[in-house]
């Protein structure tokens, strides 16, 4: 954490463009209360010191097993949950220091698309009022104009204007996700956190929704933080990828670098679980099998969080937390033995 990507920011900016969101040493701990007097007996370290930048117009993929803290990170970045520690800078504003009306005024610029299209739409509101709510709350487009804007948004996401009168339960999962996307787009945001937006959808629908999101990104110049546990989908949609484990970033790199030269044993294990399309390669490659379960974030192992399951773990891994260091330009890894890990990679992926 100490070596967050600060020193090289200037070069990164030069290569990738403007930084839109900058996350520094972000932590979110949920207190565990026990007993009659509700004393705090510990904390779930859902997000435990992550740092990264998101550049304007890019898609940053955030991958990791379930429970690694991805959703929490997304929510805390958007200040839907207060941070425990650290900073999130959006444009030039430190969101963690922004409260009340000021934060509310910034909300239109950053939106969220949710995982469960059944839970994220109020069942008692019509689609029109769901999509119109952000307009209403921020006093944009009144009366006829609002109605027009709603219809515009509906057709933008591939639905029909007449759907505005219906209720969410009358739609399929994919259509509901489109409604959620339309709601997120209503206020012309710059930045959207997509929390596993396709995970709950039928496989046959997933590609359609992802394509829609990519088209919208091109047309509207959106910046995405795309949270997912589906590595092949992330490879398809993301420009850069961050791999999260137990509340920390293990590896962060451009998508091709990460998939071709994974340098963290955890990333390698994740990738080796993804089948390779070429049957010959699939038959011959060695696979790293992840043993055991992800430890509880309430009681993470000392040193490297991955040391309980890492095939390369040594004494040093328990004694010392590996620094998040830049292995080569733009490729960040939190592993003491990243160089050795990278050497082994050819046989694995």
């Amino acid at each position: 954490m100490s070596a967050s990507p600060t020193s090289d920011e200037t070069t990164a900016v030069a290569e990738n463009g403007e930084v839109l969101v900058s996350v520094r040493n972000l932590k979110k701990h949920f207190p565990i209360m026990k007993g009659v007097f509700k004393r705090q007996v510990g904390a779930v370290r859902a997000v435990d010191g992550v740092s990264f930048d998101i550049y304007r117009g890019e898609t940053l993929g955030l991958v990791g097993e379930s429970g690694s803290g991805k959703s929490t990170a997304g929510r805390v970045i958007l200040q839907l949950d207060p941070v425990t520690e650290g900073h999130v800078t959006f444009r030039d504003v430190d969101l963690t220091e922004t409260k009340g009306e000021k934060l509310r005024a910034l909300r239109p610029q950053m939106q969220m698309i949710f995982q469960d299209p059944h839970a994220s739409l109020n069942p008692r509101m019509t689609v029109g009022s769901i999509i119109g709510e952000p307009l209403q709350e921020h006093n944009q487009a009144k009366g006829k104009e609002r109605k027009q804007r709603i219809e515009e948004l509906l057709s933008l996401v591939g639905l029909e204007p007449k759907h505005a009168n219906r209720y969410p339960h009358e739609f399929s999962g994919g259509q509901r996700q489109r409604i959620g996307i339309a709601r997120a787009l209503a206020l012309n945001p710059d930045f959207i956190v997509c929390d596993e937006p396709i995970a709950a959808l039928d496989v046959s629908i997933q590609a359609q929704v992802v394509n829609l999101m990519e088209n919208l990104q091109d047309v509207l110049g959106l910046t995405y933080l795309f949270i997912s546990h589906d590595l092949s989908m992330v490879r398809h949609i993301a420009d850069r990828v961050a791999v999260m484990y137990l509340g920390k970033i293990m590896e962060l790199a451009e998508v091709e670098a990460l998939y071709n030269r994974p340098s963290h044993p955890y990333t390698q294990a994740l990738l080796s679980a993804v089948p390779v399309p070429d049957p010959e390669v699939e038959a011959t490659r060695t696979r790293v099998i992840l043993e055991g379960d992800i430890p509880s974030p309430a009681n993470p192992p000392p040193g490297c969080p991955f040391n309980t399951r890492c095939p390369m773990a040594q004494e040093r891994c328990v004694a010392e937390v590996p620094a998040f260091r830049e292995l080569d330009s733009g490729h960040w890894v939190a592993c003491h033995f990243a160089e050795e890990a990278r050497e082994k990679v050819k046989g694995i992926v």
């Binding site: 929510r75 069942p123 591939g158 209720y167 399929s172 259509q175 709601r183 359609q208």
Partner: protein, 312 residues
């Protein structure tokens, strides 16, 4: 791309209609409500009871207060279909008049109690910093010895209210107030529990991410989704209020003892149930029928207000 996408999803999703009718929310609710058989039965029943209480005396013009001991304790007959009481007063006429008080007390007190209970439940469930205080306040009310409290309230305010609003309206307001503030606690607890779970729903998170103001989150997202327990509480509340009112008048704290209300009629008649069972049965049945019909109506309303159960 767009067209294939449309087609594949449309086939799994919606039936296509050339023309989408404009649908008003309340029109939809009413249409669904009418489909609910129980609710319609309840509505008709309640209408009959209300109508009978207010307009029945036009068709049955016997004086409910006329005492004639020579007619005491008569069994049901054509002259007096529900029989007469121990002072020879016509029971049918008394049940009709009694209904006015019982119904208005029952419904008004229920509204007050549900209002207080829902408000406190929502505030406690939604605002964490209020939760502890409000729930302790609720427990306090649950633990309070209700009868002494009622006594004190009524002693303190009876005369002022009578002077202010006249004897009947004064007592009515007092009784409604007293019942309302002593029966909201259960509603508050149930609503609080429900709010705690609705608050965690993703659509509430979505509203926060939009920047929806707290007040609107509550009225637009939380309240409509905790309506079911509120409806149940409302239906039960009417029964509790009617019965509490009769207990109050039994203790001499409510309406004057010669003033017929359903609860009062049952209480007065229970000692002579062997001689004139009709005196207990009819007002008792009115209470039950009112409670049942309100229950059914609440059921139907709950369903009708839920778009998922509302077919197009």
């Amino acid at each position: 791309m767009a067209t294939t996408r449309e087609r594949t999803e449309e086939t799994t999703g919606l039936d296509q209609r050339a023309e989408e009718k404009h649908r008003s929310l309340w029109g939809d609710v009413w249409r669904q409500f009418r489909r609910h058989k129980g609710a319609m039965v309840g509505l008709v029943l309640l209408a009959v009871i209300v109508f009978g209480s207010y307009f029945g005396p036009w068709f049955w013009p016997k004086d409910p207060f006329a005492i004639d001991t020579s007619l005491a304790n008569l069994p049901p007959s054509v002259e007096s279909p529900f029989g007469t009481d121990n002072l020879g007063r016509d029971v049918l006429a008394r049940v009709m008049v009694g209904g006015r008080i019982s119904l208005s007390v029952g419904i008004t007190a229920m509204l007050l109690s549900v209002f207080i209970g829902t408000a406190i439940g929502i505030l406690a469930g939604y605002f964490k910093w209020l939760d502890g205080w409000l729930m302790r306040f609720t427990d306090l009310f649950l633990a309070l010895p209700i009868l002494p409290l009622l006594l004190v309230i009524i002693m303190l305010f009876r005369d002022t209210l009578r002077a202010q609003f006249g004897p009947e309206l004064g007592i009515f307001l007092l009784v409604v107030f007293v019942i309302g503030i002593t029966s909201w606690m259960q509603t508050a607890r149930i609503v609080r529990g429900e709010v705690l779970s609705v608050k965690e729903e993703e659509f509430v998170l979505a509203a926060n991410s939009i920047g929806t103001r707290k007040r609107n989150v509550i009225f637009r997202h939380v309240l409509p989704n905790v309506l079911s327990p509120v409806m149940v509480a409302a239906a039960l509340g009417v029964a509790v209020a009617i019965i509490t009112e009769s207990a109050l008048s039994f203790l001499g704290l409510g309406f004057p003892s010669d003033f017929p209300t359903w609860g009062r009629l049952v209480t007065d008649a229970k000692d002579t149930i062997n001689i004139t069972p009709a005196r207990v049965i009819w007002p008792g049945m009115m209470i039950s029928l009112t409670v049942i019909s309100v229950n059914f109506i609440g059921d139907g309303l709950r369903d009708a207000l839920d778009p998922r159960l509302r077919s197009r």
